[in-house]
Amino acid sequence: MAEELTFSTDPQWRVKVGLAEMLKGGVIMDVTNADQARIAEKAGACAVMALERVPADIRKEGGVARMASPKIIREIQAAVTIPVMAKARIGHFAEAQVLEALAVDFIDESEVLTPADEENHIWKQSFRIPFVCGARNLGEALRRIAEGAAMIRTKGEAGSGNIVEAVRHMRAIVGEMKRLTLLGEEELIGASKQLGAPLDLVRWVARNGKLPVPNFSAGGVATPADAALVVQLGAEAVFVGSGVFKSSDPERRAHAIVKATTHARDPKVVLEASEELGEAMKGLDVRQLDEKELLQTRGW
């Protein structure tokens, strides 16, 4: 590497990205109670995301979606040995402070919850706990990294059971990174302006062809083949929200998605994982959703 990012040698930063590295190749599952967390761990999840309602229910029930109650988070922390993540509302740094005080292992500043600030995201560099943030394109991913995110995930369309948006976002991020690698030095300032992203990060991506933090996929994964798809498109690990516990047989489906993630490039194993599963969650046609029903347009 010709030059390092100014923050990449900071020990705090390296420890944050280090945990993200440990989660690679794995599946992070949304859980709403200790029992679900145990099922997820037993099925081979590499981490769980503690929340009060899965995205499909948030979508159905409406109302303001907030950080999960500390009680639920504590119960989940006590139930499993794998890392426990929890969601904070976009821009709600006080929720993030509470989650840090709870010593969760990772905070997801998530568009699935109702945003608390429509102008600003959380300044994540001032926290000791690592953050993951959603992104629909490279500019958004790099803005979040500049704020201190140690992991990026596609936003997809949470709670839809429809992989189309996660695919769109992963292809956008990977495609824009490829494009940067072809640009000359003098073109990078223009790219930085166009992406709305800091020049040092744009330069880093242009030289390395990847994000400086792990790049995961989320939002709409419902089947083993969905997981295999996003991994082959470039996701280094997979988040599954409503897909597991909104299906007819969560234990088997969880295990099947874990297996398909590790063996994404081996169709025989993905086939094996796809067999004898109960029904997947029903899912939504994202095109039929109203603009204001979309979760992915929250944040910028």
Binding site: P11, R14, V15, G18, L19, E21, M22, L23, K24, G25, G26, E41, G44, A45, C46, A47, Q77, T81, I82, P83, V84, E100, A103, V104, D105, F106, R128, I129, P130, V258, K259, T262, H263, D266
Partner: protein, 190 residues
């Protein structure tokens, strides 16, 4: 010489980068058949519960437990060290039992306790950088185990024959001291 890296979950790519930098060939191990083609095995960091499940599912557990240390030198970091232990606590968990040690999972606490420090090993006079991420603690080692580094008096780098285990992540640093030593163990030229 080809170094296999268990690639079911975790930071296997970081190990690959480090080992290839040292000039050795690598191959990812995801199934029992992959083991036949390698001369040594790295068990990377990650989640030991997830990795353990794959070892069982893929029929890797038995062959590694049987060949480990004999015809198969092994290097495990963090989760890999947990898998190598004779006994695992907090909670109890099945393990390969290849190193006579007791390991306590998540002994330093959650992510907020993760850190980067520097420490001395028996391999060099210079301190090396050590990245601890939700690290386990080696609580006890048997008489046949050489302790090569300590942190707060607890062993963090140990060797039993041709098996090496670290509770930290040398693969997340630029320092190749420990990986170089492992390659020497593999070539049997200590």
């Amino acid at each position: 010489m080809k170094i296999g890296i268990l690639a079911v979950q975790g930071d296997f790519e970081a190990h690959q980068k480090m080992i290839e930098r040292l000039g050795a060939e690598t191959a990812f191990v995801k199934a029992a058949a992959d083991l036949e083609a390698v001369d040594a095995l790295v068990l990377p960091g990650g989640e030991s519960t997830t990795q353990l499940q794959f070892l069982n599912d893929e029929g890797l557990f038995q062959p590694i437990a049987e060949r480990g240390g004999k015809t198969l030198p092994i290097f495990g970091t963090c989760a890999g060290a947990i898998l190598l232990a004779k006994e695992v606590k907090n909670p109890a968990q099945a393990s390969l039992g290849l190193v006579d040690m007791t390991v306590v999972r998540n002994a330093y606490g959650p992510q907020i306790e993760s850190c980067v420090t520097r420490g001395i090993t028996t391999l060099s006079d210079q301190p090396i950088e050590m990245v601890f991420i939700r690290a386990p603690m080696i609580e006890r080692v048997g008489p046949g185990v050489e302790v090569m580094a300590r942190r707060d008096d607890k062993p963090i780098l140990v060797r039993q024959g041709r098996i090496l285990a670290a509770t930290f992540h040398p693969e997340l640093t630029e320092d190749a001291t420990i990986h170089s030593y492992f390659l020497k163990l593999v070539r049997d030229e200590r």
